[in-house]
């Protein structure tokens, strides 16, 4: 049966994630309500404004349902604003977070839009992600990573793609580049051997 992948649709680049999900062979489903989580194989928290999205989470009462979704063991991926929402806490104009990823997100860590950039991942990471080009837009940094957090990719030595069991976070936007590898890894039924 076709796998349905939810994308939190309060605000942000929902459409771009939709294209990435579809090109990875799954069906993208917008999520605005608790009931929209039923039957999903995975959930994506997109890029956008973390303040705006967190206000929407308040309004829609989605904090607990998303935590329960994570507790069910199904995969979650947060990119940029989504990574902030997954973290244990955020700094630099803190927003409420889900506390599903043992890391602290420093918001706008690189500066404003004029400091946005694109760069390839550092050499020496997993072969499956070699040469991955990452687009950083008013990006956060993930700091104070807990022991259970695996770093899957770094740029300039800073962790940019991390994973803690079923919770994945990228400080960049894999949905904005045509390279499908992050979504493919995230959605692959086979867990990647990240230390190869």
């Amino acid at each position: 049966m076709e796998r349905r992948v939810g994308i939190l649709a309060i605000q942000g680049d929902v459409a771009a994630h939709g294209r990435s999900v579809e090109s990875a062979g799954a069906r993208a489903v917008p999520v605005l309500r608790e009931k929209d989580l039923d039957g999903l194989a995975a959930l994506i928290l997109p890029g956008g404004e973390s303040t705006t999205i967190s206000k929407g989470m308040d309004r829609l009462g989605l904090w607990e349902p998303v935590r329960e979704f994570a507790a069910s063991g199904r995969p979650l991926l947060g990119t940029c604003a989504g990574a902030i929402l997954l973290s244990r806490a955020s700094e630099n104009h803190p927003v409420p977070t889900l506390g599903l990823l043992d890391a602290v997100a420093r918001r706008n860590a690189y500066g404003t839009q004029v400091d946005s950039f694109a760069a390839s991942v550092d050499a020496g990471g997993p072969a499956a992600l070699a040469g991955l080009r990452c687009v950083f837009i008013r990006a956060p940094r993930l700091e104070h990573l807990g022991d259970r957090v695996e770093v899957l990719a770094r740029v300039d030595a800073a962790p940019v793609l991390v994973r803690q069991a079923n919770v994945w976070a990228a400080t960049f936007h894999p949905e904005l580049t045509p390279d499908p590898r992050v979504h493919q890894l995230f959605l692959s039924p086979q867990e990647p051997n990240q230390s190869s």
């Binding site: 649709a9 680049d13 303040t51 206000k55 309004r59 550092d122 008013r138």
Partner: protein, 301 residues
């Protein structure tokens, strides 16, 4: 910073500019004139704020020359919010744009709301680090601005009017023009590009993708939650609200309500909820009472 990666790109890259515009989709961008208003906008869930000295309704009322916002106001707003801060420059005034670029504003609006500095030329937007948004009434105008480097298009509407009719006209026009291109044969595209006064490669992009190469937002006259829902239903991917919030009786409630209606535009029951208990909307202006020379949308080409 070490630079072993050889494909590093900086903010001037068009991809990064359009990518940032993508992040604002589904959001509301609110005009603010003080840090206090910016805080209210952020608290209500705005995806960005536009820093201004006067909202369009006041610019219209006061007359005179409207210029780029004073730097102190923009800096004050940048300090107090974490959401992106945009600011306007006069059409063609690339020196104002260089100032805002140096200040590091997140987005520059080359806007017909301010008094044009050049009646023949828009800014060449490619060399800037800050991305640009520009207004458009039809597809030709939208593609001319994109050709100059705009990373986001918004309708012009009629700013400061509290009247949605012009934004609706422009949304229908741009999207209707896009659909009409889809019905052409490939060899007909150059002639259509000539008629539109638009770069042929961008006309071809529209033909191949059925949409603009950048996000397409609504602006100009949005005053109620239902106005925002209407624009989203007509294909806008986000909305700008200028005078509509802070010229209304209860800005805080109205700001939240417009955000809610923009997220839930497909659910009439939610737009209804958003429309309750808002107090008076801003006063509106009937288009027929505006002289052609008073119409801001006629500025630019």
């Amino acid at each position: 910073m070490s630079d072993e990666t050889n494909d590093r790109q900086a903010a001037q890259s068009y991809e990064l500019k359009v990518g940032f515009a993508e992040m604002m989709k589904g959001g509301v961008i609110m005009d603010v004139t003080t840090p206090e208003q910016a805080k209210i906008a952020e608290e209500s869930g705005a995806a960005a704020v536009m820093a201004l000295e006067r909202v369009p309704a006041d610019i219209r009322r006061d007359g005179g020359v409207a210029r780029m916002c004073s730097i102190q106001i923009i800096e004050g707003i940048q300090k107090c919010v974490s959401i992106p801060v945009m600011a306007k420059v006069r059409i063609g005034h690339f020196s104002e744009a260089q100032v805002l670029d140096a200040l590091g504003v997140d987005f520059i609006d080359e806007s017909e709301v301010l008094t044009p500095a050049d009646d023949a030329h828009h800014i060449d937007k490619h060399p800037f680090r800050s991305p640009f948004v520009c207004g458009a009434r039809n597809l030709g105008e939208a593609l001319r601005r994109i050709g100059e480097g705009a990373a986001m298009i918004r309708t012009k509407g009629e700013a400061g009017s509290g009247n949605i009719v012009e934004a609706v006209r422009h949304l229908r026009q741009v999207n209707g023009d896009i659909r009409a291109i889809g019905a052409l044969r490939p060899e007909e595209l150059p002639a259509r590009a000539k008629e539109l006064g638009a770069p042929v490669d961008l006309v071809r992009y529209v033909y191949e993708h059925g949409k603009l190469p950048v996000p397409n937002f609504a602006a100009g006259g949005i005053a109620t939650p239902a106005d925002a829902a209407l624009c989203m239903s007509l294909g806008a991917e986000a909305v700008f609200v200028g005078s509509g919030i802070f010229k209304s009786e209860d800005p805080e409630s109205r700001a939240k309500a417009v955000v809610h209606a923009t997220t839930h535009w497909q659910e009439p029951a939610e737009v209804l909820n958003a429309s309750r208990g808002l107090g008076q909307a801003m006063e509106g202006i009937e288009m027929e009472t505006l002289d052609e020379s008073e119409r801001l949308a006629n500025r630019g080409w």
